[in-house]
Amino acid sequence: MFEDLTWLKVTGVILVSMIVQDVLLNQIVILGSHPDLMLVLPVTAGILGGAEVGAFMGFFAGIAADLVLPTPFGLSALVFVVIGYAVGSFVASAFGHDFYSARVLGTTLGCLFGTLFQAIVAAFIGQPGILNSQLIVTTAVVGLGGLVFAIPVFRTWSWALSDMRRFSFGTRMPSGGSALR
C-alpha cells in the first residue's frame, strides 16, 4: 500500500506523537481530562487519505497509544480503526478534502464522536466508571484538542504521506499524483 519511505515517516510521526502525548500533553489537565493527540492522528489521516488510510493509521496509532495506557491492550487500536475508517468514509465526503476550515471542523467532530465511541466500547468490554458526567468534560477537552492540533497534524500527515502512490489494495492512484494534495 505504501512506499518504504512512507512507512518510515508514518512510524516516526506515530512514535513522536506518542512521546509528545505521554510526556507533554498528559500534563495539560483541564478539569480532570487532557487532550488526545493519538486520536487526532486517525481522524486527520481519514479526512486526508480516505477510509482505508484512516483505518491503517488508526490501528498503528492505537497500538502505540496502548503501549502507555492502563486500559486493555488493543482497545485503542480497535476504536481508532473504526474512527479512522468512519471519518474517512463519512466526514471526508461531507466536508470535503480541500479547505482547512472544513478539515478542522471535521477533525473536531471526529474527535468528539471518537471519544464518545471510545467510552462506549470501553464500557461494553467491561471497563467500569466510564459512562459518567466526566465523559462530557473529556469529550469537550479532546474536541478542543482536535481543534488546536488539526492543522499541524494535517501538515505532518501531508509530509509523511506525500510519497503515497496507492490508496487501496491493488488500486493505483488516479493520474495527477497523490490524493493528499
Partner: protein, 273 residues
C-alpha cells in the same frame, strides 16, 4: 472499479478489526498478558526520564504562577517596582514550595497511622488515560516497590500500585472505578469502591447501621489483607436513603487532595498469598 475499491476498503477494515479484537482478547489471557505487560513496562522505562524532565520544568512554573496569583496585583506600581516585586514573589513562592515539599517528605517518612516500612517518592505524571484515574511515580522495582503495594499520602490512602518498571510505577487512585477497599465506619465493615470523583459504599442492603456525615472511614484489613488496617480513606459526605428508609447511597470524599499531590509514600506491604 469503485465497487472493487469499496470491497477492498471493507476487507481492510475487517482484517484490522479482527487483529484488534484478537489483541484485546489475548490481553485478557494470563501468559500473553504478562508478555504485553513486559513490553509496556519497557516502553514506560524509556519514556520515564522524559516525563521526569517535563515535570521538573512544568511543576515549578505552575507553582510560581499559583504563588504569584495569591499575592494579588499591584496595579499602581511603576514597571521597575513591579519587576522587583515579581522577582521577590517568585523567590518567595519557590521558598514556600521548597519548604512545603520538605515538610511533606518529612511527614511521609514518619506517617502517624502506620509503622510499616515505606519508601517516599514523587509524582512524575498524571493519568495517561482519560478513562482511568491513575498517576505515575518515580519509584520502581529497584526501590523494592511492586504491584499490590498500598500508596499513601500525609492524610491517608492514595491507591495501589498496578504496574512497575525498574524506576517507575503506575498507581491506581482510590477514585478509579476499578479500585475497591474494605473499610470500617466505626465498628461496621463496608466495602468502598471508586466512583471517578470519590468513593461510594457497597453492600448497603445487608446492614442496619446508618453511617453519619463526617464519619471517617479507615481500612479494615479484612479484604484478604490487601491493605493494612488503620489507614484513613476518607470521610462520609452524604448519606441517601430510599423511600422505605433503607440506605441507598453513601459517598465518601477521600482524605487526600489529589489536585495537590506531589509526594507519596509506598508501604512495602503485600497481601498474604
Amino acid at each position: 472499479m469503485a465497487i472493487a475499491r469499496g470491497s477492498n476498503q471493507r476487507l481492510t477494515l475487517l482484517i484490522l478489526l479482527l487483529i484488534s479484537v484478537t489483541v484485546v482478547t489475548l490481553d485478557y489471557h494470563g501468559t500473553v498478558s504478562r508478555g504485553i505487560g513486559h513490553v509496556r513496562n519497557g516502553v514506560m522505562s524509556v519514556l520515564s526520564p522524559f516525563q521526569r524532565a517535563t515535570t521538573a520544568v512544568l511543576h515549578p512554573i505552575g507553582d510560581v504562577f499559583a504563588g504569584a496569583i495569591h499575592y494579588g496585583q499591584l496595579s499602581t506600581q511603576n514597571n521597575q517596582l513591579r519587576a522587583q516585586i515579581g522577582v521577590l514573589q517568585r523567590r518567595t513562592a519557590m521558598d514556600n514550595y521548597s519548604l512545603a515539599a520538605a515538610h511533606q517528605v518529612e511527614i511521609l517518612s514518619r506517617l502517624p497511622f502506620t509503622n510499616l516500612t515505606s519508601v517516599v517518592g514523587s509524582v512524575i505524571a498524571p493519568a495517561s488515560s482519560n478513562f482511568r484515574r491513575t498517576i505515575e511515580i518515580d519509584l520502581g522495582t529497584s526501590e523494592g516497590v511492586g504491584p499490590g503495594m498500598p500508596v499513601v499520602g500525609t492524610s491517608g490512602l492514595i491507591g495501589t500500585i498496578i504496574s512497575s518498571t525498574g524506576s517507575t510505577s503506575v498507581v491506581e487512585l482510590v477514585l478509579d472505578a476499578h479500585f475497591g477497599v474494605g473499610v470500617l465506619l466505626g465498628p461496621t465493615y463496608f466495602r468502598a469502591v471508586g466512583s471517578g470523583t470519590g468513593l461510594s459504599l457497597e453492600q448497603l442492603q445487608s446492614t442496619s447501621v446508618i453511617p453519619h456525615v463526617g464519619q471517617v472511614a479507615i481500612t479494615s484489613g479484612q479484604d484478604n489483607g490487601a491493605y493494612p488496617p488503620g489507614i484513613p480513606v476518607g470521610a462520609v459526605t452524604s448519606v441517601t436513603k430510599n423511600a422505605s428508609g433503607q440506605l441507598a447511597r453513601v459517598t465518601i470524599t477521600p482524605s487526600v487532595n489529589f489536585s495537590q499531590l506531589q509526594y507519596v509514600s509506598v508501604l512495602q506491604w503485600l497481601a498474604p498469598a
